[in-house]
């Protein structure tokens, strides 16, 4: 929250001093600043933030005597990287742990559950999957395939059943089997649908109440999402009290800049990023790497 507000305040101040800085000589010219601003907007950082960040960097450049394109971009990357909230605990390292995956339709929740189940099993965890998506056609069959690939048990109920009951079942079964990593998929929903958000709040409530292990609620965000991503994250956060994010589909050309706003404004750490199609393609989040990609104009 403070980050954006500070930027916005800084914005008006910077504009006033802009004329003083304009004479700033050195290796980069006016084109550089315009190009930088465009790069940030194109990376889905948001126009307000992009303008504010660029102006702020001009300030810093003048003060610290940064001159070259490379110096400036890496200074900016470090600044943006510092805005990401950091995680106290990683829900996929914690033992035992229960993780619920939520998000809008088509964000990649089911695939994420499947891949992380596989990663968990590889790391020697006793994983169990719960299929809390009892709404979408064939969601269960899809998750079933992933469970087989990862060779972990899956708990489900027929389509149309109460998703909260699946959570109850999977925790019960997990306790019997001695599972130490419980991954629960939920049905995709638009954050504007109040009824479905209430349903999800119930699912999370039941899970938190029933579980004897720590429960983490993770929002799955598609990297191609634009400015609407912030609105999504806010609604999910206020309904469910999220613990963090997973950003998917970063293997495309989208930079996922909206994640900066989400992470810094809502104080939510990014636990993993999805970078490819194959079952191993989930990586730990590296703030500096992410920010560097965001400010690097060469790719766009």
């Amino acid at each position: 929250m403070a980050f954006i507000d500070r930027l916005k305040r800084g914005l008006s101040r910077s504009r006033e001093t802009l004329n003083e800085i304009l004479y700033f000589g050195g290796e980069v010219g006016e084109d550089f600043w315009e190009d930088l601003e465009d790069t940030l907007v194109l990376g889905d950082m948001g126009a307000d933030v992009a303008i504010a960040v660029t102006d702020d960097l001009r300030d810093m450049a003048a003060r610290k005597g940064l001159r070259t394109d490379r110096q400036l971009r890496s200074a900016l990357a470090r600044r943006i990287a510092a805005e990401f909230a950091t995680a106290d605990v990683d829900p996929f390292d914690e033992n035992p742990s229960c993780v619920l995956f939520v998000g809008i339709n088509g964000a990649g929740k089911t695939t994420t559950v499947g891949k992380l189940a596989n990663a968990g099993r590889d790391a020697g965890r006793r994983v169990i999957i719960g299929c809390g998506d009892t709404f979408r056609a064939a969601a269960l069959e899809q998750l079933d395939v992933w469970a087989k690939r990862a060779d972990v048990p899956i708990i489900s109920r027929p389509r149309g059943a109460d998703p909260a009951s699946v959570c109850y079942d999977v925790l019960e079964e997990g306790a019997l089997r001695g599972s130490d990593l419980v991954l629960i998929d939920t049905a995709g929903r638009l954050h504007t649908s109040q009824d479905l958000m209430r349903e999800l709040a119930k699912v999370v409530g039941v899970t938190r109440k029933k579980a004897t292990m720590p429960v983490h609620v993770v929002l799955v965000v598609d990297a191609t999402t634009g400015q609407n991503g912030l609105s999504q994250a806010k609604e999910f956060h206020s309904a469910l009290e999220l613990d963090g994010l997973i950003v998917t589909k970063l293997d495309g050309t989208a930079k996922g800049g909206i994640a900066v706003a989400i992470s810094s404004q809502l104080g939510l750490p990014i636990f993993r990023i999805g970078v490819g199609e194959s079952i191993e393609d989930f990586e730990r989040f590296d703030a500096l790497e992410f920010a560097t990609a965001l400010v690097d104009g060469s790719a766009s």
Partner: protein
Amino acid sequence: MFNSLQDRLQDTFDKLRGKGRLTEDDITVAMREIRLALLEADVNFRVVKKFVADCKEQCLATDVLDSLTPAQNVIRVVLDELTGLLGSTESSLALAPNRKPNVIMLVGLQGSGKTTAAAKLAYLLKGQGRHPLLAACDVYRPAAADQLETLGREVGVPVFRGDGKDPVAIAQGAVARAGEEGADVVIVDTAGRLQIDEAMMAEAVAIKRAVRPDQVLMVVDAMTGQDLVNVVTEFSEKTDFDGVIMSKLDGDARGGGALSVRAVTGKPIKFVSMGERPDSLEVFHPDRMAKRILGMGDVVGIIEQAEALADEEQMRDAERMLNEGFTMDDMLKQMASIRKLGGVGKILSMLPGGERMMGQLPQGIDEGVVTRMEAMIRSMTPEERNRPKIINGMRRARIAKGSGRSVQEVNQLIRQWDEMNRMMGKLRSLQNSGKLNPRAMKSMMQSMQEGRPPQGGNRAQRRMQARKGKRR
């Protein structure tokens, strides 16, 4: 911190409206706001630059600045430009009349909503008297074919799965099989693919070559950000799609992508997908979308929707209501149709200024009001429903108890019935025209809003509040 595009532009225009004459500086300020608003709405920034430049140039023309109502003219210019950008004509599906079967192919990124759109499209075509066959060519995502099959069953359309391995063969198989299935149009659902995945893009081209679709439609998520331009440019080059289905527009995404797609590829948006149900695929109207973005409301859309839902029986009911008065049962039916239209919020959001009105309500729209009213009416005897006048104090107490609401709320309901009954008089004039009047709809909506649980206020107070809300 982000206001909707509609709010932003409206605020800008409100500022302009307050002025008799506009200077070039005023226009510059307004255009800066519009630029930011469009960027926040995820319109591609190159498109924004050009759009704003074009608008500004037109606004600076002397006949705009010197006219008596310059602000109105600026709005007109922006609206026209926006409509132009979204595509100036409605473009529907062009299927060759003498080809059997016709073929429609869907492409797009992962998670954009192709499979769901395929089922909705099948439902839409079925409603037009066609006989679609769905081809499940997504052989990569686990259970994608199962999903299509389930959706196909729900909308009563057969699904061809083939061997479940070779997408090209499945598409060809479906076309060959169409005759046997009695199908006259084949809808090919393909796997989601990244535009930079060469092998997968080549596969899409191969499917296209094999079945020569009448129409290739690209499904685009309304929430996509700036990267959309890279995506559609590449898809346009490789698959040369004919149009776009914009999905997930029922959320609060501002759908700026719709503007970008058209501007960058020249391809029209053909349909918008607005919900989870199979009937939620709507034909895209560029003018309405532009108006909606500018805060001018989608009055035509809501009337069309209401007309589609009003069956003959309801027409007879309406006539009876006009002649014999309005009963509680009629009110119950009205509640049901409000639900059918998507709830109070949806209706309100389609009316001019509705989005803003909703934003100003402290706790947002209380959809529960409809449920509560239904509960109270259901606690009445048939006689009470037909002649609400007979509901005395004792009956009120009983109804309150039966529905679990307070007596005050029952009083409120009866007052509202009274008002609606009087409104019937006003509606009588519409009987001749045979159309629902947007203004009547709006005042009905306001009554609904006044119907929120009373906080000890009387009617005069509520009226004043409603007026205040309208003025702002």
